[in-house]
């Protein structure tokens, strides 16, 4: 199986979907002639032209809204946010219009758009460019959100998102764009709402998503080798819809749960997961549910401090050991 980057996997998904459906188009800042700020769309403008790859001015509210309006008539725009942080200037469009038009019309319409772009910290760019708003998206019924942790999922989830008839946010990660994974050449889809068990184990379940799932996988190996703790790692992949069954089955098996995410802790995704576990697996728990999240402050600029602020090996391992007292 070819080893390709996360960036290349997303590009393949976009390329294939543009070819599959004439209504799929990509719009955003620098997506066409500049080849993408993070080169995710590199070469696609040359291949597919102005109609399918659309450079926009720096006007997130206008082009997000236009994508939503166009989708009402059957166009399927994939909107790139250069940073997901920039979606904040388009909140009325994305969090009112994309999410609620279907509902407020009593189901007379749907909004098949994809909003994609990097949503991560750890890049030394300060608070305004480091948001992880998957919790905010998930808090809006009508929206869906996925956080691929690797190239295989990035491609499969992107294709599922584009074919989905509801608005889907795909949260990417700039720190993963250059990482490589095995991705099959034949076509595949990763369905929304299906978690992935990255590693099986018996003593502790780590539930995570996005890049943190990969960090958790590494931490799990250390925990096993250095501390003799067998860890199961559940990668959520999809935040809304959520694969509750896989989380609960794993926790019921191991009796312990550590939740790891880059979100800020208060009202983060893992606050919901934690509630789910206590409600539906209470009798199986041998210890309280613990969390490792970003340290609760605006994202700090200074690199060594930011590396400590977001989850890392050391903090995940310490979090796991705390559960075992």
């Amino acid at each position: 199986m070819p080893l390709i980057t996360y960036r290349e996997a997303i590009k393949q998904a976009l390329d294939e979907e543009i070819q599959r459906d004439e209504n799929v188009c990509i719009m955003g800042e620098e997506v066409a002639q500049y080849n993408g700020a993070y080169k995710v769309t590199e070469g696609l403008w040359e291949k597919h032209g102005d109609k399918r790859l659309i450079d926009t001015p720096i006007s997130e509210a206008a082009f997000s809204g236009m994508a939503i309006g166009a989708s009402m008539l059957g166009i399927r725009p994939v909107v790139e946010m250069m940073f997901m942080s920039f979606s904040y200037v388009a909140i009325d469009q994305l969090f009112n219009n994309a999410s609620f038009c279907r509902y407020m019309s009593g189901g007379l319409m749907n909004v098949p758009i994809v909003v994609r772009g990097p949503a991560n910290g750890g890049t030394n760019v300060g608070a305004t460019h480091s948001h992880t708003p998957e919790n905010m998206v998930a808090n809006h019924p009508g929206l869906k959100v996925v956080c691929p942790s690797n190239a295989y999922d990035a491609k499969g989830l992107m294709k599922a998102a584009i074919r989905d008839n509801d608005p889907v946010f795909v949260m990417e990660n700039t720190l993963l764009y250059g990482e490589k994974w095995e991705v099959p050449e034949e076509e595949y889809i990763v369905e929304l709402g299906v978690a992935n068990i990255l590693k099986e184990g018996t003593d502790l379940t780590i539930v995570s998503h996005g890049r943190c799932a990969m960090l958790s996988l590494e931490a799990a190996k250390t925990l096993e080798e250095a501390h003799g703790i067998s860890v199961e790692v559940v990668d959520l992949r999809s935040i809304r819809p959520l694969d509750e069954e896989t989380i609960l089955n794993s926790v019921k098996k191991t009796g312990r749960a550590l939740l790891v995410e880059e979100n800020k802790p208060y009202c983060g995704v893992d606050a919901q997961i934690s509630h789910l576990i206590q409600l539906k697996a209470f009798d199986y728990l041998d210890a309280p549910v613990h969390r490792v999240s970003a340290i609760d402050a605006p994202q700090i600029y200074a690199k060594p401090l930011e590396d400590w602020q977001i989850p890392n090996q050391e903090r995940i391992i310490a979090g796991a050991l705390k559960i075992f007292g």
Binding site: N23, C25, K51, T56, P57, S59, A61, A62, F63, S64, G65, M66, A67, I68, G69, A70, S71, M72, L73, G74, I75, D92, Q93, N96, N97, C101, R102, Y103, M104, S105, G106, G107, L108, M109, N110, P112, P141, G142, K144, D164, N165, D166, E191, L192, G193, V194, S238, R240, P241, L242, D243, E244, Q272, L279
Partner: protein, 364 residues
């Protein structure tokens, strides 16, 4: 070719017989009567909904279109197969003009299951995609990029049509609208923005909210053609809007139309101050000289389309229809509680085979 020469917004217009303009001259008697029926219908519907609101039957907000009827009626009457329309929260007039029934609109305001949105949208959120009507939007100017998107889709698909995106004079000061003006000009998007300038953004007069009071002039900053006209004469609205719509359809160019109109009631019925931020005399003067219902009536009486008897008959029919819609709404049921969680996701609503994975709703 349509005359798209810019006009000065401040010039005093000579009274003109717009009924004699080419776009209006060809109207059949029945088409003119239809316009009359629409305008009278909106007026009677709004009056009846005001009563229902005051009786506590309608909750939330009620933004009445009384005084502005000729704007939506005139423009909608020009719509062709691939033309689409979207507006903000003062949306009842546009809804009735595109052919939505009084029953479904009134029932929606009552929050009933028989409403156009099953009681999930309310007064500000009427939709009828089958009539190319895309709402009904609650946030000021939030609908303007959506309207541009409808037009973008037409162009993308190679369909000859335009999108009509209505907004109020308060909406021109929102960033999303200005961003959208730039985009549609840059990309040659066939959208016609219609500013229904009723002089007040809620309780703040134009003078107190917009640095340049000639709102259409903003189009110059984006290299967009514009015109200004009055909104009380439905035939004037048609004459001017027709040029804008034709240009959009045929040349794929956006257009900014500012229509000077007036609302008799407050921003919403809850706006108890509306006779404080403007004078009673101002309201009465408009009613006396520029009332859209009286104006079309006198025009159609003069040209023989209408008789006093027929006018009375139509008026009574519309009153009865509005009354019946209130009765229909009153007697309709609310949606069952299970409906709270339908129409959220298309995929969930259409999952007959039970193929979807994962949890979509998160109540204990």
């Amino acid at each position: 070719m349509a005359n798209t020469k810019k006009k000065s917004a401040t010039s005093t217009k000579k009274p003109k017989n717009f009924l004699a303009a080419p776009i209006n001259k060809t109207l059949s008697k029945e088409e003119k009567l239809d316009l009359y029926r629409t305008i009278v219908g909106i007026r009677r519907f709004e009056e009846r909904s005001l009563r229902a609101y005051n009786q506590g039957k309608i909750g939330g907000f009620l933004h009445l279109y009384i005084g502005q009827e000729a704007v939506a009626s005139g423009i909608v009457s020009l719509m062709e197969e691939h033309d689409h329309i979207i507006t903000a929260y003062r949306d009842h007039g546009h809804a009735l003009a595109v052919g939505m029934t009084m029953n479904e609109c009134m029932a929606e305001m009552y929050g009933k299951y028989t409403g156009c949105s099953k009681g999930k949208g309310g007064s500000m959120h009427f939709f009828a995609p089958d009539k190319n009507y895309w709402g009904g939007h609650g946030i000021v100017a939030g609908q303007t990029p959506l309207g541009a998107g409808l037009a973008f889709a037409l162009k993308y698909k190679g369909l000859k049509g335009c999108a009509l995106a209505f907004l109020g004079d308060g909406a021109v000061n929102q960033g999303s609208f200005m961003e959208t003006l730039n985009l549609v000009s840059l990309w040659n998007i066939p959208v016609v923005f219609v500013i229904e300038n009723n002089g007040y953004s809620m309780g703040t007069s134009l003078k107190r909210s917009s640095a340049e009071e000639n709102l259409a002039h903003r189009a110059d900053g984006f290299d967009i053609e514009w015109e200004v006209c009055d909104g009380h004469d439905v035939f004037e609205v048609r004459e001017v809007a027709n040029r804008a719509m034709k240009r959009a359809r045929e040349e794929l160019k956006p257009f900014l139309l500012e229509i000077r109109t007036y609302r008799y009631r407050g921003h919403s019925v809850a706006d108890a101050n509306h006779e404080k931020y403007r004078t009673k005399e101002e309201i009465e003067e408009y009613k006396r000289t520029k009332d859209p219902v009286n104006l079309i009536k006198s025009q159609l009486l003069a040209d023989g389309t209408l008789t006093e008897d027929l006018a009375k008959k139509i008026d009574q029919e519309k009153k009865d229809e509005a009354e019946a819609s209130a009765k229909f709404a009153e007697e309709s049921p609310y949606a069952p509680r299970e409906e709270i969680q339908t129409d959220v996701y298309w995929e969930v609503d259409n999952d007959a085979d039970n193929k979807l994975k994962g949890t979509y709703f998160f109540n204990d």
